[in-house]
């Protein structure tokens, strides 16, 4: 009996260790990324590193402002397209489609989430980029005759990113809308609102923290996405002036340059990783705090 209890206790400890491994990993990731990146950041000067606009490792210039701007530009565009589309899909799934059809639609959304990032990049490169250079550019040139683009641009990256973050926005928003208590719907209908008014004025406001959490997580995904963005944005580390300009992103620059970087350059890339890590960490903790408020832990 006593031995039994000992076994039980040790197993409990073992399980605790298993549960703690994720936490230990986060700690290790933090330590190793910071340890590898901080020297370059402090060597170049934190302010210069964060706000310098010149990223040319060949000349020893490591200002990441253009990279941050590139990431923000594609992320903003992705959200601009992704939020309305995602929320509409969520409404469609949760309130309008009958159960069976909703299951099919949900499966489609899961597939969208499952398609590898390189495939998105490849599809964007072969289909979207030529559309931009052949069809979008001439239209744009009517507004701005000086516009030039190869197609590799904020538009290409942002559009594909929007598709990639849709599953995150749709599934969490749908969850939030579905979990609004039935009473709300009934009460709203009882005071004479129709279905559309119920959705727009009652359900979406009631689910707003869940929807917000989905947007923040989608934003995190967009900022962290690497392969597709790297293939589609052209990787030019300059401050963009228009939506058809090429940009370099934080993630794309790391992946692109890591393979041939010299020691200082490599440290600087880890520095870029630190910036990325901190942004993502803040976004995720915010999403979690919002989701917890709503009473459900955030999920992808």
């Amino acid at each position: 009996m006593r031995q039994n209890r000992f076994v039980e206790k040790s197993i409990e400890k073992l399980l605790f260790v298993a549960a703690a491994i994720a936490t230990i990993s986060v700690a290790l990731i933090t330590i190793f990324v910071f340890r590898s990146g901080l020297p370059a950041m402090s060597g170049y000067g934190f302010a210069n590193f964060l706000f310098g606009a010149d990223w040319s490792p060949g000349n020893g210039e490591y200002g990441i402002l253009a990279l941050t701007a590139g990431t923000l530009a594609v992320t903003f565009l992705a959200l601009l397209i992704g939020i309305p589309t995602g929320v509409c899909c969520a409404v469609f799934l949760a309130e309008i489609l009958p159960k069976r059809a909703a299951a099919v639609f949900k499966f489609a959304i899961e597939l969208l989430a499952g398609i590898p990032s390189v495939v998105y990049g490849f599809f964007g490169l072969i289909v979207i980029v030529p559309i931009i250079s052949e069809h979008v550019l001439p239209l744009w040139q009517r507004v701005n005759p000086d516009a030039q683009t190869t197609g590799l641009s904020i538009l290409a990256g942002g559009f594909i990113l929007a598709v990639m973050i849709l599953p995150t926005i749709v599934s969490i928003s749908e969850n939030a809308i579905s979990s609004v208590p039935q009473d709300y719907r009934e009460a709203s209908l009882a005071v004479g609102a129709n279905k559309r008014e119920t959705i727009v004025r009652v359900l979406i406001p009631a689910a707003k923290s869940g929807i917000l959490a989905s947007i923040i997580l989608g934003m995190g995904r967009a900022i962290g996405e690497t392969m597709a963005v790297m293939v589609l944005t052209g990787n030019v580390a300059m401050l963009p002036k228009g939506i058809l300009d090429p940009v370099a992103t934080l993630t794309g620059t790391i992946a692109m340059e890591m393979s041939y970087a010299g020691p200082t350059h490599q440290e600087a890339l880890f520095g870029v990783g630190i910036v990325l890590f901190v942004i993502i960490l803040i976004l995720n903790l915010a999403a979690q705090a919002i989701a917890r408020k709503m009473g459900a832990v955030g999920r992808e």
Partner: protein
């Protein structure tokens, strides 16, 4: 009248955007399949690449993908299931548990390129494993860990409390109850988590790009560098080596993802049906 106009425009927008989402999925899958499937042949699956992938097949790359995925699963499964059991069966909500839960969620949100940087700094350089299947598999296992924890825990939660009480009242210990009663009830949930983990591992690129090397020889040990399908695709796209082979690899990836998602969906539907 105004109300009717509002209705029409609201439902119109919702319908159009939802259908657009569906359409883009269909377009991507159909396009890649149409361009890629004709180039998938027995030779493509069974030969080694020649001229950096311009000719020949992708056998070593398939082997590399399978190795890395299996290794990542072999590491992440016991840890993930153990962690889920801890969260669902053993933990009492306290400070410590709250913290490790939060960090588990944080791990789920970390982008793959950061795992790549970490894997490179820690496994490849610090632990001196070099660019190898081992480094790649370990980095990847950290990435899929949250997926496995989450789906296992979800299914543990669906096991009725009465099962546990019944088992405990017969004199079984907590651990015996967990292993012999509770876990067998969620075989399917765990399986779904593993399958989703496979899907994630197969599609993943950025983390492996920095940790696994990229050799196109058939790997023979854990310490050999290798290349996975998604990485191969990227390299062929980036270096403009062969559009045909890229499409064929993409089609193969999509087929795998379709199968993986269908199986996961099938299992979880049956789970819901059984309840």
């Amino acid at each position: 009248m105004n109300r009717k106009l509002g209705d029409i425009s609201f439902y119109g927008i919702v319908l159009i955007l939802s259908l657009a989402t569906l359409a883009i999925l269909i377009v991507i899958i159909a396009y890649v399949m149409r361009q890629g499937l004709p180039h998938i042949s027995w030779e493509f699956l069974s030969q080694s690449p020649e001229h950096m992938g311009r000719e020949g097949g992708i056998l070593p790359i398939i082997v590399g993908t399978v190795f890395v995925t299996l290794l990542a699963l072999a590491i992440a499964t016991p840890i993930g299931v153990g962690a889920a059991v801890f969260f669902a069966e053993y933990s009492k909500e306290g400070r410590v548990v709250q913290v490790i839960r939060t960090f588990t969620e944080v791990l789920a949100g970390i982008p793959s390129i950061i795992f790549g940087l970490f894997g490179f700094a820690f496994f490849v350089v610090f632990m001196q494993m070099g660019w190898s299947i081992l480094s790649g598999g370990l980095s990847l296992s950290l990435m899929i860990l949250p997926t496995i924890i989450r789906s296992t825990e979800e299914s543990l939660k669906t096991v009725p409390l009465s099962y546990r009480e019944g088992s405990l009242s017969l004199g079984a210990t907590k651990w015996e109850t967990t292993v012999k009663v509770v876990l067998p009830c969620c075989r399917k949930g765990i399986l779904t988590g593993l399958i989703l983990g496979i899907g994630r591992a197969v599609g993943e690129t950025a983390v492996l790009y920095l940790t696994i090397g990229g050799s196109i020889r058939i790997p023979t040990s854990l310490f050999d560098p290798a290349r996975t399908m998604s990485m191969h695709m990227y390299m062929m796209t980036a270096e403009g080596i062969s559009r045909e082979k890229s499409f064929a690899t993409a089609a193969l990836l999509i087929v795998i993802i379709l199968i993986v998602n269908s199986i996961a969906n099938f299992i979880s539907n049956r789970m819901k049906g059984a309840q």
